[in-house]
Symmetry: C2
Subunit: 310 residues, 2 copies
């Protein structure tokens, strides 16, 4: 966490946004986007995913994107990896942080990464072994992101106990921190408070990575508020809500970075992000992804008259 | 407040929604809508406004709508009135509750009802005198709804002190309760907590009517959560977010009743409303207002698998 920032807004658009759309953003635009967001004050960006380019051709240039992002001073460069092979590529590329999506729903896990919970735990341990074999200064931080933590489109309710056990297991396996992902937009504020409390009590404050929330059912920012009130310090979001219509079933529906930053700054919570500069970054997306819809309430309505950020 | 309900969801679509669109909903559809929502468990509906039909032809049939709504057992029939004349019409029609919009911004007040604060206070007192002249069983409850309480599109920041003073003045003038309206979609959760606390401390819990929030900048439900955490018991909302695109500047952008009820019920907060039946009421709007857009995240994404209401 940088100094003079109360909450870290972690941009995941270049990964979660781009993987959810059909258009492929040119490498040059990705670089421009990442540079512009960093210039606006965004301190952490998940810039891509080391996954088979056959599965996600949109992210096939992740190594080059990482190389560019590493050239930006002060930026934490994060990537998603689905397995050991991805972690190896991430290490080779020099990413600062890797996140392994480990679904709390067995069905979702199988569909997402084609592994049983036991196999995924083995993968987690193999990644830990890889990272521990590296010198400390080349070792990325390793987060296990518990996806479908608040419910699953295949299984419905995901028991809290199961999520808490998975968090504990992941930490025991040696990852640095665990995060909670509402991949399906099922979460509500009461549930966010309940689950965050339990997971944090189990793994400890310093091993709780933060919240990855979606706005599929319109509760994204209310869920952020719930987390914020518990002292959660990191929230993921996607510029322009990139990744498909936030209210279409199955769509990504990440919370919109611009709206999130507006809420936080309006509340007096410092993000270190210049909202006007952030809003102007949308132009890069509009120009490079002309067929995609861009979302966001604040970008459409404009900032309130007299608004001054935190 | 009805028994076995934790929070009262007060539907304002037939007033705030319909006044904000160009289409005129036929009287029969209004009746059908109100009946269907009441059947779904909605306990209070603002069914129209006693305002000049020249200004708002969409609401010219308010007296007939009130007459119909009064025939529905257990339903609180609310109307908006801009002045004494409107209050007289509301009394004549037999409405249970009248709300006078009293803007905290002088500029907005002037543009909205063409009165200075002093003139509007006189109007408030005249309405109180009218109501006190009635036998108790024919006397509607009288709320002063403080609009632009969280900021104004003309004036920008509206000082909290001014809102608190207005609340106090309205109660001193003899109204039964005051509510706070974020007419412009400027509010944030920290501000909601701060202002609700101050107003409630000033007028007393029993004289605080509730919150009328808009979703213009996407913070509507986060603001509801802030109010809920302070124990606010009544929230206004509009079915299908009727009243124009919630993210167009100047548009109504009421919070969506379906999304609000979903959030509350998912959190275990009883509204007394059957969400599936509520969702089906949208069909009446779709059929009778074919040129208007209907909004809402939950209606588009569907209920979570395994969702069971509070």
């Amino acid at each position: 966490m940088p100094t003079n920032v109360d909450v870290l807004v972690s941009e995941v658009g270049p990964r979660d946004g781009l993987q959810s759309i059909k258009s492929i953003m040119p490498l040059a635009a990705k670089k421009e986007w990442i540079s512009a967001e960093a210039s606006a004050g965004v301190r952490e960006i998940e810039v891509g995913s080391f996954v088979s380019p056959k599965l996600l051709p949109q992210l096939a240039d992740t190594a080059e994107v990482v190389a560019h992002a590493l050239s930006i001073s002060g930026l934490t460069v994060a990537v998603l990896v689905p397995n050991l092979k991805g972690a190896q590529a991430a290490v080779e590329a020099g990413a600062h942080k890797i996140t392994l999506p480990f679904s709390a729903s067995d069905t979702h896990l199988l569909k997402n990464v084609r592994r049983t919970p036991e196999q995924m735990l083995e993968e987690t341990r193999a990644i830990v072994a890889l990272l521990r074999s590296l010198p400390a200064d080349r070792r990325p931080k390793f987060e296990v992101g518990i996806s479908t933590a608040f419910g699953c489109s295949y299984e419905g309710i995901v028991p809290e106990d199961k999520v808490v056990r998975l968090a504990e297991t992941a930490i025991e396996a040696g990852c640095d921190e665990v995060g909670l992902s509402d991949s399906t937009g099922y979460a509500n504020p009461a549930q966010v408070k309940s689950l965050v409390k339990r997971v944090r009590d189990t793994v400890g404050d310093s091993a709780f990575a933060g919240l990855h929330l979606h706005n599929t059912r319109g509760l994204g920012l209310a869920n952020v508020l719930a987390g914020l009130e518990l002292g959660v310090k990191t929230f993921d979001s996607s510029l322009a809500g990139l990744g498909g219509c936030p209210w279409a079933p199955g769509a990504s529906g990440n919370i919109v970075t611009e709206d999130l930053v507006f809420m936080l700054e309006a509340m007096g919570v410092h993000t270190g992000i210049d909202l006007n500069r952030l809003l102007s970054v949308r132009k890069i997306l509009a120009a490079s992804l002309p067929q995609e819809s861009l979302y966001g309430f604040v970008p459409e309505a404009g900032l309130p008259l007299g608004f001054s950020p935190a």
